[in-house]
Symmetry: C2
């Protein structure tokens, strides 16, 4: 599998998945610690005219998965990364385009994660993410556990 | 909003949502207690050739939401139903078409749920769901809390 060592390579990998294309996925920002992914509201709208919970969950999952994949790729690991479990809290309806931002649980450290990959070929990450409301506040929050295995 | 009092009306409501159409959603079975929804693998495949976690989460959420909506519609309630939070556990990769089956937490009772709608115009349901593996076992399990409000 290809090394996901730049945001563009991450985007290429994501857009090879039909369900990510259906979201209308685009890159947001990446500063080495936080990754955001965007999607327009139109293909992700529910029966109430706001963002569909499943689309929010998908975008949150992909932002967290993408962050893990980038940190692994930047360190030279061509790894398989899986989501093990996730919890999403839907706090307020979102009547705007979607942007999900993911970061590592502050109780954890990417250095330790990569050291585990180096020594055991396997590592676990607890990743947090959220979708903000345009006027401030949070539309939904996510936490998920991911496991990476050397390919 | 329309009364969702038959599986076909539920399907019509779901297919009015672009993200549900993108899943390739179809009705499975409904026996008054359990509802299943199906989706083919092709539009829901990830980079590893198995079902994308976001699609699994979406289908699980819709099956649970759909079950609440049907129980409300059958009882004559035109309600707005929202997911409040959900947890998904991804237990095994699924290399086959998706079918999510939802049922009410056995600790709860639809009679109490509908009585709450009648008396307070609001009710909460804890719904369980899972996607089975074709050879037996579970690909992923879901639990979610939903709230319905009289429209």
């Amino acid at each position: 599998m290809p090394l996901i060592d730049t945001p563009q390579r991450l985007l290429d990998t994501l857009l090879a998945m039909p369900p990510a294309r259906a979201l209308g996925l685009a890159l947001g920002d990446y500063d080495g610690q936080r990754l955001s992914l965007r999607a327009p509201l139109a293909p992700n709208v529910n029966d109430k005219g706001c963002a569909f919970g499943g689309s929010l969950s998908s975008l949150l999952t992909l932002s967290a998965w993408g962050l893990c994949s980038l940190k692994l790729g930047e360190a030279g690991f061509a790894a398989e990364t899986y989501v093990q479990d996730s919890t999403v809290r839907y706090l307020a309806p979102l009547y705007a385009d979607l942007e999900a931002r993911a970061w590592l649980d502050p109780a954890q450290d990417w250095g330790d994660f990569l050291a585990a990959m180096n020594s055991r070929g396997k590592a676990r990450a607890h990743v947090l993410a959220e979708v903000a409301l345009p006027g401030g506040g949070v539309a939904c929050s996510f936490e998920g556990r991911f496991v990476a295995k050397a390919a």
